[in-house]
Symmetry: C2
Subunit: 320 residues, 2 copies
């Protein structure tokens, strides 16, 4: 029996901040974070799942506060040595981080599912939330740019998001199905809220919506779907959201993001700096400070998002 009361959809760093807030304000076991795996890739023979791992490390209290990715108290001996061999070091893997990739890759080869592996490791890290990949199947984000079509990490890390984006496509979307645990939680009639974290809508949330059946699960869920804006004053707190929107010919604004989620969401959380846009969002809106500069700010925002969802639920939103 699932004890999940809230499902959050999240990419990496930005989304993980709110996921941590939700984790801390909910009772242990009540949160499921469905993670984007469109960024996953094979590197140095290892399966790397950047968003899953950022969520794991963040919820386990192991995230690196300076880098924003990877683990705290990390050492870099392996990468430094790999450099002396002329190896591939553009994707920085810390020594402790490597252990996760080695162990995951070994278990995947032995036939375990990504969900099983992540669940076991989360338990060992004493994370009392379910971190669930959107799918067990490969769905890989490809970035069509002025410099050609690039694999996601090639675009995002190796080329630092510099090439101009023309379009995105999700390789494998016709075959990828929602993971069983995500499916079960989203179908549960006692679910209280679904939160679309302030992740990049195009790079982090769209891959999840491209999984066949995921959109229907969200649309038919008993719980209201609330999205939190990733843009404040037309700019992203971190990452290339605004840059990519401009390159795709979109106005980098919370309005555009809300429009992007139309038909999917029941409410939108807008930053107080954008309060003037509230009437143009086209959804029920909750206006607040969405910039999570402290742990307390994450918890407060999480509280408000859950309150907002409760209000929407009371008013009948969410029911298909």
């Amino acid at each position: 029996m699932s004890t999940t009361r809230v499902v959050a959809l999240s990419g990496g760093i930005g989304g993980a901040k709110l996921a941590l807030g939700l984790y801390r304000v909910l009772v242990p076991g009540a949160l499921m974070v469905v993670a984007n795996t469109g960024d996953d890739f094979d590197h140095l023979g290892l399966r790397i799942c950047p968003d899953v791992d950022t969520l794991l490390y963040t919820l386990a209290g192991l995230a690196n506060p300076e880098l924003g990715w990877g683990r705290r108290d990390e050492t870099w001996t392996c990468m430094r040595t790999l450099e002396t061999y002329g190896g591939e070091t553009w994707f920085r893997l810390g020594d402790a981080d490597l252990a996760l990739h080695l162990e995951r890759t070994r278990r995947l080869r032995a036939g375990e599912s990504l969900s099983e592996i992540i669940a076991d490791i989360a338990q060992r890290l004493e994370v009392h939330a379910a971190i669930v990949p959107m799918s067990e199947d490969p769905l890989r984000t490809r970035v069509l740019t002025a410099a050609g079509e690039l694999a996601f990490q090639d675009y995002f890390v190796r080329r630092r998001c510099e090439p101009r984006v023309r379009a995105l496509r999700f390789e494998g979307e016709e075959r990828a199905r929602p993971s069983a645990r995500a499916q079960a939680a989203l179908s549960d009639t006692s679910l209280e809220a679904i939160v679309v974290c302030p992740s990049n809508p195009y790079l982090s949330i769209d891959p999840m919506l491209a999984v066949r059946g995921m959109r229907a699960l969200l649309e038919n869920a008993a719980a209201p779907v609330v999205a939190v804006t990733p843009l404040v004053g037309g700019a992203a707190i971190k990452g290339p959201t605004a840059k990519i929107m401009a390159e795709l010919g979109l106005t980098p604004s919370a309005i555009t993001v809300a429009q992007h989620y139309r038909g999917l969401i029941d409410g939108f959380v807008l930053d107080e700096r954008d309060a003037a846009l509230a009437a143009s969002i086209g959804e029920p809106v909750h206006v607040t400070d969405t910039v999570m500069t402290s742990l307390a700010a994450r918890e407060r925002l999480a509280h408000e998002v859950l309150q907002f969802a409760a209000t929407l639920r009371a008013s009948g939103a969410g029911a298909p």
Copy 2:
């Protein structure tokens, strides 16, 4: 054109000591070390080549003097973290050491040969000797014990050589061929000496002799073959040589080792503590201190071995 003047056959730690001595007394480029790869295995998805790596690290001046294996100034963050995931940590891989396994595995998958990869890494580590795997083909030492048949590292590392050895077999021996570089060097008529290092004859040298055609290459080589005893006073300086000999029903003595190499070698280097055995060796013998407790001792022994080979060559030994 090969500049190899001396070929050494070596396993790991014990053999690497003499290999280092030879490396230091010969002109740069004159030494080729043919390494046992019967201990190689796949672990955590990585190809590990313990003897090749011990030779690389030793000749590069990077070997760990305390452990006797692995690299100096090593960190252990990855293994420590892997332990928290319940991962396989019985085979200790340091963080810097991991870089070599990652890079080798990546290049092997990309289609490079082990010889090419090791040659490139040796060059980057400024090793001016050729370190050459005995074969590009898999030949795996299997240990038949009272506890069943075990993969080599399972026997050697995980079970610390505790199970009683009944026999050894070399999986893949019917298909493994000598590596091209070893073959070329051993066929070169200007080769001056072939040194069988004081490695375990059964675990480290026999796998090389099991490679199809290797024994003939050694027997037909223009250079004399000189073996250095791995036993002093019936005991090994390090490792389970004497224990295994006893378990195989053999008398742990330099005489037994010399008999084991009969037909292959032209001379035997006996330890001075065993001088009384000289007449029973059945080969031309050079008696000296074979315990290499210092770098100077390694160089001195290397000098003496090469001198001994020169004497044998002058007397016509080595010519098929």
